[in-house]
Amino acid sequence: MGYVAVTGGQKAIEAADQLNLWYRLKDTEHSLETTDIEKQLRHLVDRVMSESGLYAPNYAALAIKQAEGDLCEAAFLMRAYRSTLERTYESLTIDPGRMRVIRRISSAFKDIPGGQILGPTMDYTHRLLNFSLNHENSAEMMNILREKVPDLKLSQPPVFQKVAKLLREQGLLFPPKSSGTLFDITRDKLSFPAPRSAKLQILARGETGAMTALAYSNMRSHIANHPTIGELRVGYAEVTIAYPLDASESICLGEIMITEVETINAFERDEQGEVKLRLGYGLTFGQNETKAIAMAILEQSLETEGPSPTQDEEFVLLHVDSIEANGFVSHLKLPHYITFQSKLDVLRQTQKIATATADKKRQINAQKEGQNDAGKAETNI
């Protein structure tokens, strides 16, 4: 026997790999271009980047192609790649107040400085299948759009003041809670109670569906908890690092698209007796609006105490990660012959005990009946 035996298991895996390729390509004339995925399936790419915690649109597109559109699998591919990358630099803090906005709305105030910008959204589009997309002429469409869509870079003011800043200036807001030092969830195991920075990191890369469901449960079961969106903004923010030779200088590495949400919740009284509002905060890679809102709701809910599952940090933080949840639920597909054998053994032993106990009871009852009969017989005499 050699060291590396070719075995049934190995052959099965190779065949499965080939079948994946076969099923991806068998009924198609051409392979999907990753640039098409990247540019035309924006929300898919954004979601994968957000859930993997890696901002790389072209890699996300590749992952989506490789995973044949399985979002969890795509986020997993990205996360596994990310975990091998060295940390070369830490970026300087990004100020979303300075981002190049493409969309911003407020449900709290009608008029906000700079105005509301609806931007690209499907919120008010009727959900009717657009059959003309079956035969879309993209060149023709682009010609029409070029005339209609203004060049945002030129027509917009560069930055919009944050709505939160207005409230803060009027003394209506508590300052954000800060744990001081920055916890890194990829470099330390989380312990409880979790610092705020760790909570925000976990939520920022949480699974969209899981977070939406939890946030929905929070809103639905607690009528009082109906936050108002102070501001939701989507746009591009610059990522900069300190210049290695002179920390007072910084270098811009490029732009990332982010969604930021600040929710206004019920007012609170702090230890000094001051009554103010507390903001809920959500931030995600890409345009992921529902997730960002859900994040703000959950983040705020975790700051309060009560019986709701969303106020339980272990419940929320340990279960919203796509990679962990999917991995563990799907591991049930692995063989469990040994554990099942062991369980069967316990069951059979327990059955034996149960049968023995039942037999014994029957015997005792029979004896009792016998004695009773004997008693009856005696009285009959």
Partner: protein, 286 residues
Amino acid sequence: MQAKLKQTYNYAFLDEGSKKEIRRATLKAVAIPGYQVPFASREMPIGRGWGTGGLQLTLSLIGDHDCLKVIDQGNDDSVNAISIKKLVQSCTQVKITTDSERATLIQTRHRIPEVPIRADQILVFQVPLPEPLRMVEAKERKTKQLHAEMDYSGIWLRLYEDIVKWGKVSIGADYPALAHKRYIFAPSPIPRYDLPKLHQADGLFLFGAGREKKIYAIPPHTDVEPLAFEDYPFEVEHFDGCSCRRCGSTDTFLDELYDETSGEKFYQCSDTGNCQKRQEMRQADL
């Protein structure tokens, strides 16, 4: 794929800093038998819950002089074992074996090989749920405190309730045990049959839980006592009168199988490497 991995990824996949960090956590685990040491588990290219904790331990320890054996359910040829071996081979030059006595490093899911682990060998377990107290306490914050205060009344009560309800302890695999009279630990879902092999052994046993981000260890010559009562002693699985259809063994852990055509029940060694060796010995005797 394999050639590509070698170029783009570090030796043994993880970067050296990460490996060092995992080894440090491992040293701490060895120093405190049964204590769950937290570590910053990395995302691996296999699923969380599919052996990423064991894999990280293996990769943090492995060098080209090593000889690796990987088993799942005792079987070298199980698809998950093959998949893990394939990954390790694609980023190292280690030798692979199915012979547990030849291996320096053995990664396992759900079994301990039949031949006892020697002092120069390390057995790495893949652990799905490292917290033995989770069955009685849902919160990590609380279980940590229970361990610290050695407050194990909850789990003892659970065993007692089992006896009242079923007439015996109903835990199958992953049977909790006390490490060196201090920490109760989860031996991973090995059968009860394997649990006594951890007691006062010569080899080093390392446990890695990737998703739960914990490492713990049973170092050589450590007392490992399965939780039991004097009048309800610990029992291993029963294979009375059964023997392996292939090698004839009556003293190994057996898989229960059913014949495809006749539907008849038969038994076969779960440790396939050992069974193979015994078959060869039996043939040589004939």
